[in-house]
């Protein structure tokens, strides 16, 4: 038992922070792609596009039904053996791909629920004044669905930031990978992992504040 090596911890912070941008970039890229894919899947589910609907169901079922780590190994170590053109896939791309597919499955369901939750009579009102389906979606349904879905989508984003730490298992030196290396050379495992835990924590707290602010803004129209 020894006391915490505070000097070591303080020195570690700037080293690890150098890898924070990569962590955030992977999460942001994953979130962006996942949002697009999730919207697509949600619209397919809501409008029940024949054929595609069954595919969407299968997709959602698989990516929600298997662990993210298994999916990442499948993409990085497994797929290139089958699809040889993927041999050159790097760890970062594989991580973003995995995060995208995994989280889009969850997000599709919450977006779908938000769309379905919009009062049917507003749809009728929009049609009754002569709006087309796409005008109705763009101007009435999606703005309201966005508001309903935002809190859960933000939660998924936070989850995604933390999940980028799995990239180190694919050999990517992001924040977690860097910590692992530092700890292995100093043998101060507790200090090193405590520092990285606190960094993740602060980032997530900052996002939670952003989430609250965003929700308040989006809720303005609904306050009595």
């Amino acid at each position: 038992m020894h006391g915490l090596d505070l000097d070591y911890m303080a020195a570690l912070v700037p080293i690890l922070l150098r890898y924070l941008p990569l962590t955030l970039e992977m999460a942001a890229a994953g979130m962006l792609c996942a949002l697009v894919l999730a919207c697509l899947l949600a619209v397919i589910r809501v409008t029940r596009v024949p054929g595609l609907n069954a595919f969407a169901l299968l997709f959602i079922s698989f990516f929600r039904g298997t662990p993210l780590l298994v999916q990442l190994f499948l993409f990085y170590y497994g797929l290139p053996q089958v699809l040889t053109f993927l041999v050159s896939i790097n760890g970062i791309t594989a991580t973003i791909l995995g995060l995208t597919l995994h989280f889009s499955a969850y997000m599709a369901e919450s977006i779908r629920a938000a769309i379905v939750g919009i009062d049917r009579s507003q749809t009728e009102a929009a049609l009754s004044i002569g709006m087309t389906q796409s005008q109705l979606m763009r101007r009435i349904v999606l703005p309201q669905a966005t508001r309903v879905a935002t809190p859960t989508l933000m939660n998924y984003f936070i989850d995604m930031i933390k999940s980028t730490s799995l990239a180190f298992t694919l050999g990517v030196t992001e924040m977690m990978g860097a910590t692992q290396k530092e700890a292995a050379s100093s043998f101060l495992y507790f200090e090193a992992f405590l520092v990285v835990a606190v960094i993740y924590w602060i980032v997530v707290e900052a996002l939670s504040w952003l989430q609250k602010w965003l929700e308040n803004r989006l809720n303005r129209a609904y306050q009595r």
Binding site: D119, S121, Q122, E124, A125, A126, L127, S128, I129, G130, M131, T132, Q135, R139, I140, P143, Q144, R147, R220, A221, Y222, Q223, R224
Partner: protein, 249 residues
């Protein structure tokens, strides 16, 4: 001019009504009365294709549509010639009172936003809600929401406004202000078809009252005739049931 010819509607095996004929002149005000579940609202919803009729043709202004083979364009054109006021108001929850009224003018009529907003303000003035322009539906009373609903219909500049039990969902204290606004529109010779249980309104405002029962138009006449000397036994029974109850209020 509005004309319904042989309009029919069925849900699965159940026929709501068939062979409905009804016509009205520009500026005419028709009130449809009758027991619940006789297809009054469904008929109204067929006129702008919120329900798709299974038979018959519809004429609104210069547009005639064979309902069994209506194209997407015809349905849109029909909806642009009609406006609808819903029982539960159905205001756009993400838009202010002003935006609810201006929305159709901007999106459907492609009016510049400024012009649409200034027209919407005029309408707010007419419906007595000039001070609520920036209020969202959630902060308005039921009566105010329904007046905005009527304002939105007025903004459509439609040949006819269809009212589907506009006061049925309202707390009693808001009913008068909504009926008052409808009377004001009637005085301006707005063509309207109103489905309602407000017999007093029918008596005062309607040019013609249509009595519907079990999916059929039983009789239609000016209120002075229909309420005092109904020809059909079913109409008599209906009026006996509903009139004393309302007169007592």
């Amino acid at each position: 001019m509005i004309e319904l010819k042989g309009i029919g509607k069925r849900f699965g095996a159940h026929s709501v009504f068939e062979g409905i004929d009804l016509s009205l002149e520009r500026g005419e005000i028709i009130v449809i009365v009758g027991p619940s579940g006789t297809g009054k609202s469904t008929l109204l919803r067929c006129i702008n294709f919120l329900e798709t009729p299974d038979a018959g043709s519809l004429t609104v202004g210069d547009l005639t549509v064979d309902t069994t083979r209506a194209t997407r364009e015809q349905i849109l054109a029909l909806r642009r010639r009609t406006a609808f006021v819903f029982q539960n108001y159905a205001l756009f929850a993400n838009k202010t009172a002003l935006e609810n009224i201006a929305e159709g003018m901007i999106v459907v009529d492609h009016m510049p936003k400024r012009e649409a907003h200034s027209r919407a303000r005029e309408i707010l003035e007419r419906i007595g809600l000039a001070d609520k322009a920036d209020a969202y539906p959630a902060s308005l009373s039921g009566g105010q929401q329904q007046r905005v609903g009527i304002g939105r219909a007025m903004a459509a500049n439609a040949e006819v406004i269809l009212f589907d039990e506009p006061t049925s969902a309202l707390d009693p204290q808001w009913v008068e202000e909504v009926l008052g606004l409808m009377k004001q529109l009637a005085a301006e010779h707005q063509t309207m078809i109103v489905v309602t249980h407000e017999m007093q309104f029918a008596r005062e405002v309607a040019d013609r009252v249509v009595y519907m029962d079990q999916g059929r138009i039983i009789e239609q006449a000016p209120p002075s005739e229909l309420f005092t000397a109904p020809k059909d036994e079913r109409t008599r029974q209906f009026l006996r049931k509903i009139l004393p109850a309302q007169e007592g209020v």
